[in-house]
Amino acid sequence: MVAIKIRSLEDIVKAYLENFEFNAKKVEQGVQYLITNCQIDHDNVTASLDALLLKKAKKIYPEKVLSNEQKTAMLKLAFVLANGAQEWKVQDLFGSDDNQKLFEKMRANAVVPAPEYVLSNMFPQAIEMPDNLWKKLWGKKRK
């Protein structure tokens, strides 16, 4: 893995929140909220924040058969596409309270690349010469 230059916890959390297009004020408040209210592993800040987001993503998209990483990414994307940073605060996204309005909006903005699979088979067809073709063509003459 590529080395990220050593930064303070605040810097990393701030950078993480900027992803969601929160304004500077909301980012400042969010950083304070996350550092004081949430358990963040100082050695792996991104993973800690992703884990918080995953909890929320699982509640929002319970029916989707997706990997954890994909569910987290889906929530991030939906939040940005829905301009969520203008309507909600960091607490709404990372906190334990469930904001139904947020949930609905995130579901509506979920990016679906393709519908669920409806698996079925398609077998290779036989493309072959007729039986005894050469016999048919030449055999009679030999007789």
Partner: protein, 677 residues
């Protein structure tokens, strides 16, 4: 022919149509061959005599089939008759089925592809039945920059799409069996959810109403497996492309109508702009890997013909319906691009030699294969025909005829050469080639208004001159392709050049130098040793000698625009542009305006939306291909240098692909980018 196969005609009626076309083809070839046998110089050897007759039968028969098919097509169009045997329905019929529009892509320009889809979706929504359609972009893209761009443009296009039409995207990491494998992959994963699929090409545009009609026809004709809407070439500006577009517009209708006349429900499928019944396709059209080595063995390249034959073998009908207007595509902009595409098609058609004799195929399906094979094989046949003729003439120069043989005779043995007979056969062949073009012009003039007809006659005359000059060049290209294929050389899979771009002297020299030298050499030889053939050979030798300037001049957009200004090769679609083409161009401009400063992996790590989007789409891209860890390590170091020192890295394709499949690195690097800012 199964019971109830046709809606309103009897199988005997269909048989009568075929007897007319093929009977006249055989009869005219037979009569011309008898004449030809009379005009072959009497001093030629038995072997050359046999070769001349055989080559004549094959090449003349080919022209005769085209001629008679076009003649019947002409009369069908004059009488305004629809293809019989299929049940037509009212345009207002509400459809009850679900159709998928499939757009398979391979390293194409995403903005153009998605713009076309947005225009088609908009048209579908206008029909009021847009909710009966879903659109799938099935990517086989291998270029990492193009891959990321496809993802971004997909997201942008979703915003332009009408709400009732879904736009989906999936990418295959491994392109098994190319386009046919791509479609098969769709069928296996999602096919069961759809009744029909409309297969498109990257440059396809089909009117909403036309697509709806195709679905309505499929619903009303439960026996129909495939309905093909003949595509019309549009949107290109080079002189070469303009001539193709014009030829397609003027001559295309009688060719299509002629084919539909005798093919009826046993038609062919051209690989795109066609609707297919999904369950019939899945039941009958799984393609095997042909035994033996490439180019004859391996995956089937020209899968469309084979799929049509297999679906027909399964008891379903296949229709070519010239009545379906509003189906468009783009033709290659230059002669070289045309030849590159032809190389691929040539290999696909030669591969059909293996399929041609396979069990259970309908005789008409076998004829489709033969026509495909002959459309390429006819070039080396023509070349051989010319060479044998030249050899006879040269032989006479170097081995003068023996007037008095050893056995004593009263009179000398004069070699007989029937000049009048030869000229009449030549005129007949030219007539059969050129006359259908004028029939096409008559239909074109009858069906278009005064403004659209302007310049049509002079365009046809110039087109005939240009096509005569280009024919020997294409003959040389195709002869080489056939030889290459028989020598076991594979064509590979290259993206087709679709944008206008002129041919440089260097490119033209590389491609045509042998054509030019052969033209000069033949002219010199003929001038000195077979002078009587000089003027006969000139249309061929002139085209070859001028191959470089012809290839260059016809590739210029400026020449094409000059022609447009002076009413040469103008098609009605340029005078009154169809709405769908106009909208596609508008959407392309909108999507082009959203291009990012970074591309590929740099875009994914610098743009938060792209970072999240790429991670969401990663599983749909399938499992990562196996790439050595050392490649990923090297790529990560380059990325690190970029983030910390701002040096824009140059990744190899494998490095970029490895990074794009490494979700952890992409997440970390995105954060590092924000921190670095």
């Amino acid at each position: 022919m199964s019971e109830g196969f046709y809606k309103n005609i009897s199988p005997r009626h269909v048989l009568r149509r075929r007897i007319k076309v093929f009977g006249l083809t055989i009869l005219s070839t037979f009569l011309a061959t008898i004449k030809w046998m009379e005009v072959i110089p009497t001093d030629s050897t038995l072997v050359t005599h046999f070769l001349m007759v055989l080559l004549f039968v094959l090449t003349f028969g080919w022209i005769a089939l085209f001629f008679w098919s076009s003649m019947f097509g002409f009369f069908e169009l004059l009488r305004n008759r629809k293809v019989p045997g299929i049940h037509w329905v009212s345009a207002n019929t509400k459809v009850k089925t679900k159709t998928a529009l499939l757009m398979p892509v391979y390293n194409e320009k995403p903005q153009s592809v998605f713009a076309n889809l947005a225009a088609m979706a908009e048209e579908l929504a206008k029909t009021g039945q847009g909710d009966a359609f879903d659109v799938f972009v099935l990517s086989d893209t291998t270029n990492p920059k193009c891959w990321v761009e496809e993802e971004r443009v997909w997201l942008e296009t979703k915003k332009l799409f009408p709400k009732e039409v879904n736009l989906y995207y999936r990418r295959r990491p491994i392109n098994t069996a190319r386009k046919s494998g791509n479609i098969e992959d769709f069928c296996k994963k999602w096919g069961a959810g759809y009744d029909f699929m409309i297969v498109l090409d990257a440059d396809s545009l089909v009117n909403g109403k036309t697509m709806l009609t195709m679905v309505q026809l499929m619903e009303a004709n439960e026996n129909a497996g495939i309905i093909q809407a003949p595509p019309m070439c549009v949107n290109q500006h080079s002189l070469f492309a303009r001539m193709q577009q014009f030829a397609g517009k003027v001559y295309g209708p009688i060719v299509s109508a002629g084919l539909a006349y005798w093919q009826v429900g046993d038609s062919n499928y051209w690989g795109h702009n066609a609707i297919i019944r999904v369950n019939a396709f899945m039941q009958c059209c799984g393609l095997p890997v042909l035994s033996g080595r490439k180019p004859f063995g391996g995956h089937i390249l020209s899968h469309d013909f084979v799929e049509a034959a297999l679906i027909r073998r399964g008891g379903w009908s296949a229709w070519l319906l010239p009545e379906l207007k509003g189906s468009y595509e783009e033709c290659p902009p230059t002669m070289i691009d045309f030849a590159v595409r032809d190389r691929r098609w040539c290999q696909g058609n030669m591969q059909h030699m293996k399929v041609l004799i396979s069990k259970g195929l309908h005789p008409v399906s076998r004829i489709h294969f033969l026509i495909g094979i002959m459309s390429y094989l006819s070039s080396p046949l023509w070349l051989s025909f010319l060479l044998v003729g030249l050899m006879i003439a040269l032989g006479r120069e170097f081995f003068p005829p023996v007037y008095f043989t050893e056995s004593r005779t009263l009179f000398p043995t004069w070699p007989v050469f029937d000049k009048i007979g030869t000229i009449s056969l030549f005129v007949l062949s030219m007539f059969m080639l050129i006359f259908p073009k004028f029939l096409g012009l008559i239909v074109y003039c009858l069906k278009n208004n005064k403004q659209e007809r302007k310049g049509a006659l002079k365009s046809v005359l110039i087109e005939i001159v240009f096509s005569a000059l280009m024919a020997p060049i294409m003959m040389m290209f195709q002869s080489k392709f056939v030889l290459d294929i028989f020598a076991g050389r594979d064509s590979g899979w290259n993206t087709q050049n679709r944008g206008d771009c002129s041919t440089s002297f260097k490119q033209a020299w590389q491609r045509h130098k042998w054509h030019m030298l052969l033209g000069i050499l033949t002219t010199v030889v003929v001038w000195f040793y077979a002078h009587e053939l000089f003027w006969w050979m000139l249309p061929i030798t002139l085209g070859l000698m001028l191959s470089i300037p012809i290839s260059m001049i016809t590739s210029y957009e400026s020449c094409g625009r000059w022609c447009r200004k002076h009413n040469f090769f103008v098609i009605p679609e340029e005078i009154k542009e169809p709405k769908i083409i106009e909208r596609a161009r508008y959407f392309e401009d909108v999507l082009e305006a959203k291009k990012q400063s970074f591309s590929g992996v740099l875009e994914v790590i610098s743009n938060p939306i792209m970072n999240a989007l790429h991670l969401v789409l990663l599983p749909i891209n399938g499992p990562a291909p196996e790439i050595a860890k050392s490649i990923l390590d090297a790529a990560q170091i380059k990325l690190d240098t970029f983030i910390n020192h701002g040096l824009v890295p140059e990744f190899s394709k494998d490095e970029e692909i490895a990074l794009l499949y490494d979700a952890d690195t992409l997440r970390e690097m995105h954060l590092a980018m924000i921190l670095a800012k």
